[in-house]
């Protein structure tokens, strides 16, 4: 009788321990995959063409050249004079861009720009992923006066 009781207790304890460890491992894996999603960003690609600036706006054509929908962009800009307050600027623009689609974009800006950066934003499982590794940078030589 005692052997059966001990055996039952061992089985019950192992079952509890197994369930607990599986739960822990699953929650950690989910947390890690929530924090980083390099595979999704590998399917993202944008191209920026025909960029030029006027005194108040920056104009460009943005194309989605890959297979995943782009939901928007972080638009970062750097001015010419480092001492000015708006030397560094950053805004989020939400424009849905389907694969193969091109959008003609006109954005307001302050002063002349020496560099712009566009970081694509995608949505997966209701969460925004900022694909920094797919950032497109345009330097001063590519930002001519329109």
């Amino acid at each position: 009788m005692s052997w059966i009781l001990i055996f039952g207790m061992v089985v019950a304890l192992s079952f509890l321990l197994y369930n607990w460890s599986i739960e822990q491992a699953t929650s950690r894996t989910e947390e890690l995959s929530k924090r980083t999603d390099p595979l999704t960003c590998q399917e993202i690609g944008i191209s920026v063409d025909g960029a030029c600036q006027t005194s108040t706006t920056i104009i460009m054509n943005i194309s989605n050249v890959e297979t995943y929908d782009v939901e928007g962009f972080i638009f970062r800009s750097i001015g010419i004079y480092p001492d000015l307050v708006d030397y560094l600027d950053s805004t989020i623009i939400y424009i849905e861009l389907f694969p193969g689609e091109t959008e003609h974009l006109i954005l307001l800006k302050k002063g002349s720009l020496s560099q712009i950066e566009l970081v694509p934003i995608v949505t997966k499982n209701n969460k925004n992923i900022y694909c920094e590794e797919q950032t497109v940078v345009k330097e001063v030589g590519e930002l001519k006066i329109c």
Partner: protein, 179 residues
């Protein structure tokens, strides 16, 4: 011979049972509390580790293939400030409360400066740090030979929590007039 009466076997069993259950309850409660405390501590450490390694990604901003970090002196005749200008970009999804800058001067003398200007997620911040007064007794000499920048993730009066595994090390620092 045996004149004294003891408790009946039934009451003794019940007493023992109550005693065992109470003791079991106390031990279980104690272990549960300490286990939860331990789990929370481990979870906090893990959370901090994940924030440091995955959610913060610092680099010096590059403009025209040159990193924006430079030194300058203000004032003249030995009265002024030794400044360091740097733009730090955070490509990660966590915010930093500021940066800690460790500097070795031209003669390898160390100085540490904290700047609590926030560095937001997916954003950039320009820091203009006053390292030393040029007329003070520290004999700090520009140009710096090495700079290490680390993000501050939590800053209180008592402590500063720094992500040292996410630091940036720079050994080539130019005069701001050259940039």
């Amino acid at each position: 011979m045996l004149t004294k009466k003891g408790v009946s076997p039934l009451i003794a069993t019940v007493l023992l049972l109550v005693f065992a259950l109470t003791l079991g309850g106390i031990v279980m409660n104690f272990t549960q509390t300490s286990t939860i405390e331990l789990r929370d501590k481990a979870s906090d450490k893990m959370e901090r580790g994940l924030t440091c390694s995955l959610d913060l990604d610092l680099e010096i901003l590059e403009i025209g293939s040159r990193e924006y970090i430079c030194y300058n002196r203000t004032g003249s005749d030995g009265f002024g400030l030794n400044n360091l200008e740097v733009i730090v970009q955070n490509s990660g999804s966590a915010n930093a409360e500021g940066i800690r800058v460790f500097i070795l001067d031209y003669n390898e003398r160390p100085t540490t400066v904290d700047d609590l200007t926030p560095l937001g997620a997916h954003n950039r911040t320009k820091y203009n740090l006053n390292i030393t007064k040029t007329d003070d007794t520290s004999n700090f000499e520009f140009p710096p030979s090495k700079i290490i920048i680390s993000p501050i993730i939590k800053h209180t009066r008592e402590s500063v929590d720094i992500c040292s595994d996410n630091r940036i090390e720079i050994e080539e620092i130019y005069d701001c007039d050259e940039i």
